[in-house]
Amino acid sequence: MKSSNISRSLAAYLLALAVIAGSPARSAAQTASAEASLDIILKELSTYDGGIDSAAFWRLRHHVHARLDSPAERRQCETKLLEFLATGATPQAKLAASRMLRMIAGDRSVPVLEPMLLAESTADMALYALQAIPGPAADAALLRALSATGGTTRLAIIAVLGARKNAEAVPALAEQLKGSRDSASAAAFALAEIGNEAACDALSASLAGTEATIRPVVSTALLKCAERLLAARDAGSAGAIYETLLDDPALAAPIRRAAMSGRISAAGNQAAANLLEQLQKPDPEMLEAAISMIVHVFEPGAIGPVCNLLPRLPERAQVQLVSVLTAYPREMTLPALLQAARGGTEPVRIAALQALESAGDASATAFLAGVAAKTRGAEQSAARSALARIRDRSADEAVLELLVAKPPDDVLSELLLAVAERRIFAAKGDVARLLGSDSSKVRVQALKALRTIGTPSDIPALLDFMLDAGSDIERTEAETTAAALAQKVANPDGRAGAVKTRLAREKDPGMRALLYGVLRRIGDDSALPLLRTALKGSSAAEVDAAVRALSGWPTAAARDDADLLARKSRDETHRLLALQGLIRMIGLQRHRKPEAAVAELKTASRLARRPEERKLILGLLPRFACPDAVDLAKRFLRDRAVQAEARAALDRIRTQLSN
């Protein structure tokens, strides 16, 4: 780590500590714990009932935690806590003490805890502490208690012996395998946790003679043992266990599947052959697990025989295998995947198309564009996604070649979609030419593609296209594209340049009105004077477009214009548009003093004659949470048309203020 990082992290950490240390609640508790002696704390704790009055428990916790790093003090705590366990304190109090012992107890605690194992009421407390004490003393105590206890306590001791991985306990645990169902289950799991050779032998030996209800438990324990053997490179022993389990038809499928997977893992250089054999068996129970094993067994260059199996498998297995094949080199899997995408059932086709996203290359582009053009729904979506995401640079060139090869319009549209998704900037010239296509669908798609791959230099041509467009859809798309390309101009005050130039030579009021719409979409504040001038013009179309542009202006720079229009406009539509714009623009200035924003909203509310605008104001108020906002929201409570919105706004404002 760089030193600047260290110092920055350290500074933040120290700041955090300082803040925590300064907290009144924390410092009160800590001071109390520091001052009170453990005797006093334990006396207070002795009546703890597990409920709300837990201050003594917290003091104990702080007291012990503060001494974790001091062996002498830890030892002192241990002594006192052990003494406490022998008092008449409540069970909850003793439980609290034993949980502290879990953190600090050592061998000295064992003689005190061991007798507690023998009583049902204290066994849990003793086990909490004993489980964590390292070393043979605790192991021996637990083993002694195993034969001296029964019922659930014995089961818990068995579990703890397993959790401690106590190898000495194996013979005793093996005995328990012959006991009741509960004991045998607990012992099997414990032996699996220990997992050494002796534990595995004990489990294996018991398998044959175990009654049917216990066999699954012993079998799952053996699976875990076999994993340990495999990890220790004893594939022979592991394989033998897996074979035994796999050959037992009485065992449930999950166990047999796990055994089959394990057997293949243990088969070494025979694993691929074994798995291939398994994949060809008509056993649906095992097929799923076998397919899941493929990636662990087959090397990239050896996947061919598995690909050949694909069409012969049941549908569900084909779907699964297709997904697996994406992990392999495309030159090995592509023919099989293309075949599945062409000829499989619908789920298989969709899965194969999805697989082509990572396994496809340039050779798949024509096929994918064709599928995307002629299908709908999930299949189309998968084909489009694959065409857009194929990770092969030559796929871009393939798309370009197809684009100029005069394919059918539906296919052309899909290719244009891919051009945009893949950011094929080299396609710009061809895409621009397609604006002259006979097909409206192609023209719209070309406009969309240009939005991504075009540059500001394309704006004049787009404006020409927009002004000549024969349909609203194309006009809107052209406007959106021109505005999007203008955003690529680095200087915010230069984004409307091309539109201004066009306006300078455009005399037709209808066309000028359309260009005002583009200015609004661009939001270059340097164009505002132009719109203000248009408001004073004689053309109704231009005035209307200018009002709409100013009211819908994307920044707050047109706030005063909207305010003026909302107050003065004689046209009710214009007045409402401007008022809505004004409210929206007030909301855009998020970082002002909330009181100032609320004052403006209050003024705007006087112009709001309809509930619709009053609701807009209420919707904004929580953004500027302050007492003035509360007052303004309250005023609306008496207004039936917006009462619900006022209540919701008040709730949100109050929540924010309370935080």
């Binding site: 803040v19 849990d124 990770r391």
Partner: protein
Amino acid sequence: MAVAGAAGFPMIVRGSALGLNGSVPASDRIVMAGIGYGMQGGSNMRDFLALNGVQWVAVCDLDDRHLLKAAEAVNQKYGRSDCATYKDFRELFARGDLDAVSIAVPDHWHAILSISAVRAGLDVYGEKPLTHSLREGRALCDAVKRYGRVWQTGSWQRSVDNFRRACELVRNGRIGRIQRVEVGLPPDHTDFARTFGQEKLEPPPPELDYETWIGPAPRAPYCKARVHMNWRWNMDYGGGQLMDWVGHHLDIAHWGLGFDTAGPVEIWGKGEFPASGIYNSPTRYWVETLYPDGTPIILAGGFPEIQRGTKWIGEYGWVWVDRGGFESQPAHLVHEVIGPNEIKLYRSRDHFQNFIDCVRNRAATIAPCEVAHRSASVGHLGVIAIETGRRIRWDPETETIIDDPGAERLLSRSYRKPWQLPA
């Protein structure tokens, strides 16, 4: 799908006999059940029920009220009255006709239930945090692998576009080498069940099997504040805000860094706790971690300087993402598109559909067990660092604490008798 059920039970043909459910052939439906309806379980089930190809056949909960409400929701969905109800998960798993199960129970039950489920051959949608202790997490991952099951963690932010896009920007070097990551989580305790203060000890209500609810956790007397929803604030059953959210925002931090199967090498932290009451998870906390490549990740709850969500800070700027928020410096980064030849992360548009798709094609989900374990591990280690007050050194390969036997004790928990982690 045809997969045999729990140990000792004969194979039963799956949902093919059940009608309903749109256009998906009956034999192709994923037959599911849910466990735990006191909090997230109901919402998860509704999301699954909305999907084509899912057949919900049973519900399981220890509280009769939750159980009946959940069954009613299922019956209403199908216009039938045959949704089975269970209080004992073992009986549910023994049905033998299930493909998958959705588990949304208190954290202290996660591992036992989940391992039991995968042993029974079920795929699992499980809530985060993955498990209640770090050792349980490893045991669960091993079991999921052993039985070849599909696992999806409820870290649904991975299936939201903004989170994936933010991670892709970071992974593709848009802000250069990462210098620091800040993960802002919520502070305090939230009164989800409106039972704060209801800590009067009383007999458990008859509709709740409290003995099983406590299960492997240490025995404690019943009070309303201890159980439904607010259990999260008591470390015997939950892990507080830190463990609740580590599976979201830290999970995203890991995703962006490519640390899905990695872990920190050093962890230290500090927390602030309540002075009394039955809740004992930190209300404010600050955890710092250091990863093997030198990247520090800070997790904090209750510190305004750490913005809620995930923020990667790099050489050339930063990227920040949260629910409903996605910003960057420089600002235009958030609009940048990742090209086809750059790193593209696993894309899921619907977390629940992703699980169902993977149950079908057996591929890994977007939030698999190992990934969830690695993000939860950071929370567990943070809790241990806070608990011990020491700097923890961690080996993420062997998953062991280095040279601190006291801290090592906290990697696992003891179970109250007779509960035991199955193999």
